[in-house]
């Protein structure tokens, strides 16, 4: 068993930002429920390790001078909307598991990265 990180990047319809989309409260609830169902499924199988949704705002600290800027100011679809850590045999299995994620239904994408064992 290895650990993998999912980085979720969504679209403007990423329901996890309540302020930044046009979803009705019912639709938001529905999305949240989908995440819950998916994650519960992973949890019951011992696949889920952890994860958090992120607010769309933030700050950036850059370079040797540690310059602080507001951000992230990149395309909405490139902003990391959340992450999850899972257990899987190998990256291909991790990829398969990720296909159940609701973010894909709203045309988002998932970056799957193996965690470095230190």
């Amino acid at each position: 068993m290895e650990k993998f990180l999912y980085l979720f990047r969504g679209t403007e319809n990423n329901a996890h930002d309540m302020r930044d989309n046009n979803l009705s409260p019912e639709d938001m609830q529905a999305q949240m429920q989908k995440w819950m169902t998916w994650m519960k499924g992973l949890g019951e199988k011992g696949i889920l390790v952890g994860g958090e949704p992120l607010q769309v705002t933030g700050k950036q600290v850059t370079g040797t001078k540690k310059v602080v800027t507001d951000g992230p100011f990149i395309e909405a679809k490139e902003i990391v909307g959340g992450y999850l850590i899972v257990n899987a045999k190998n990256i291909d299995e991790a990829v398969e598991i990720s296909k159940g994620c609701p973010v894909l239904e709203v045309d988002g994408k998932i970056e799957v990265r193996p965690i470095q064992n230190m």
Binding site: E52, D107, I115
Partner: protein
């Protein structure tokens, strides 16, 4: 107390640069010291380093590609989950990160509290 995520980008990927073993060791030490300090203060809530490889699953059709193929300075190299009073404090704490010595950057993001 709120939770924040640090996304690390850029800096040297010491773990995979075989020529750099001394610098690598020093770097690891610096990270270790920074993280230990945060741990003792109850600031650290989790985190992982990432291998530079990966895959990507895209869109409703779930198309799988190798990747991510972005510039080294944009590639997420790791993350930390921390506790801080507010984002400004989170930013201040992040300044202790060794990644800045190598011209890397840290994206500081508040965890979204889901309400009912």
């Amino acid at each position: 107390m709120e939770k924040f995520l640090y996304l690390f980008r850029g800096g040297e990927n010491h773990a995979h640069n075989a020529n750099d073993s001394e610098a690598a060791a020093k770097n690891m030490q610096a990270w270790g010291a920074w993280m230990q300090d945060m741990q003792q203060k109850g600031i650290l809530a989790g985190g992982e380093a990432l291998q530079p490889t990966g895959k990507q699953v895209n869109g409703t059709k779930k198309v799988v590609t190798d990747g991510p193929f972005v510039e080294a300075k944009e590639l997420v190299g790791g993350f930390l989950l921390i506790n801080a009073k507010d984002i400004n404090e989170a930013v201040e704490i992040s300044k202790g990160c060794p990644i800045f010595h190598e011209n890397g950057k840290v994206e500081v993001r508040p965890i979204q509290k889901m309400e009912m």
